[in-house]
Symmetry: C2
Subunit: 270 residues, 2 copies
DNA sequence: AAACCTTGTTTCATTGATCGAAACAAGAAC
DNA sequence: GTTCTTGTTTCGATCAATGAAACAAGGTTT
């Protein structure tokens, strides 16, 4: 089955493992890192020497423990947060699209609006609310309400105190009702909206977060309500939550649990 | 002379070179990178495969060109800007301290104040204004005025319009005078202050910037005015400007011009 | 259409860089 | 003192990394 050859360089892969390790837990020394990663001291020592010479790690004053270096921040700056979010979400959005044939949306909050970062158009293309780059309201829509629910309290109240445009009959415009809904969204960690932004449309949304509790984006499956039934709804919810969870993992410092079974950790001999 | 062994791993070093290259110029393909870096296609291909599997680079939709991946942003976030600035400045501050025996200060602007990020105490320790973690005014002091000069115009005017505390007789408290001084600082790209914050003290400051024009920090040499003469002042100015320039280079995406002559680029045979 | 680029991918044999093990120096803890 | 650590250094064998070259797949030009 493995028609996909593995061209990775074990040496480089190991170095990245050390770098990731220092991101996860800084202030470790050669021996400690070697022990925890199951590498020899020689290798860790040499990897650290290499990374340090390039500024990717730096040793503490006591000349013993290491941490991330300035170059990591420099490159990180260059990468850009939103762009990185896009990249991290790419495969998962493709998969969701493939799996559901509905519209898939990636949203972030930008001030007191939501910004559509990326979309995948479903097969049953409806009048599409979400187009990448577009802005929308925070108080209506599956992903929007999710982002509002996890927004800073002050902003939340500011929105609730402002004009709550009514888009459909189902749009919630009563601050108290919304407050209650937002609390429930926070409690359950996901949101399903129907008809509240577009008549005849549904949206199943889940949060993406780097640190537990700190939501940075929302992922949603949206489509025509006519096609939705209990079975599908449950499936979509599971799917979008799983995808959002995996994207979150990719964006967390612990890192995703190794993308592949690493290059020959140990030989398979008897 | 080379009592310092080189334990770097060439393979890893090359991978970092590719990564840096993609930071400097994204959207390049295997062949292009190989050509520009003087590597073989095989190697670049394998390095990119390795980096991609870890999310450090990602290939564009057309399956041909690469750019920085989401993981770079994740680690960069973790590294932290200020911490990285500290690390990048460390050696240069040590060198300046060694070279001048005066106080060395690294300052950033934090809102409408300056924050002392790091210091090196000179041999002729005076009543030290600067201690790491301390805040100070933006309108008096060598580094402070430098940061004010390159601050956003709105903030500059806000400061000039506010209360300009007089610390000594030399403190400039006239908005128009200050405006003129700030313009000169911007023009010449450095600043020397005397007596304006502490009586009998001087400060020779130079800016640190990642992008030309965008100043992110100030590096300064400070000490008792009694020890300063024209000769010393010129020397200090040259020294601090050079150091600030090198730190800036380390923090720029182009990267410092190779920290070391790379691991065996070509054998030295006849 | 054919010829001719270019690209990314794959193979393969050689070699020399990489690696593990072990010795070493230098502190820290006891 | 001894006995733990720690980071550093040496060194020889091995095998992973490498360069060269072939390959497939598109694009462009003719």
């Amino acid at each position: 089955m493995a028609d996909q050859r593995d061209y990775r360089i074990a040496s480089v892969d190991r170095a990245l493992t050390v770098l990731e390790r220092l991101a996860e837990r800084p202030d470790q020394g050669v021996t400690e890192i070697a022990r925890e990663l199951g590498m020899t001291k020689s290798i860790v020592f040499r990897i650290l020497q290499t990374l340090e010479a390039r500024g990717f790690v730096s040793r503490n004053a006591e000349r013993s423990v290491y941490g991330l270096g300035y170059r990591v921040a420099v490159l990180g700056e260059r990468a850009g947060h939103r762009h990185s979010l896009l990249l991290a979400a790419r495969e998962e959005m493709d998969a969701l699209s493939e799996e559901t044939s509905e519209n898939i949306n990636l949203l972030v909050r930008d001030g007191n609006q939501i910004l559509v970062l990326a979309t995948r158009e479903g097969r049953h293309s409806m009048r599409l609310f979400a187009a990448a780059g577009r802005y929308g309201p925070l108080h209506a829509g599956g992903g929007s309400l999710l982002l509002l629910a996890f927004a800073p309290p002050e902003l939340r109240e500011e929105i609730l105190a402002g004009t709550l445009t009514r888009f459909t009959d189902a749009t919630m415009t009563e601050p108290d009702v919304l407050r209650h809904i937002l609390q429930r969204i926070r409690d359950q960690g996901w949101n399903i909206a129907k008809n509240d932004l577009d008549e005849g449309a549904f949206s199943v949304a889940a949060p993406i977060s780097t640190t537990p509790g700190e939501v940075i984006a929302a992922l949603s499956i949206a489509g025509p309500l006519a096609r939705l039934n209990d079975n599908r709804q449950a499936m979509y919810l599971t799917a979008v939550r799983g995808a959002a969870q995996r994207i979150s993992a990719k964006l967390s410092i612990g890192g995703p649990a190794e993308p592949a079974p690493a290059v020959s950790a140990e030989p398979t001999n008897a």
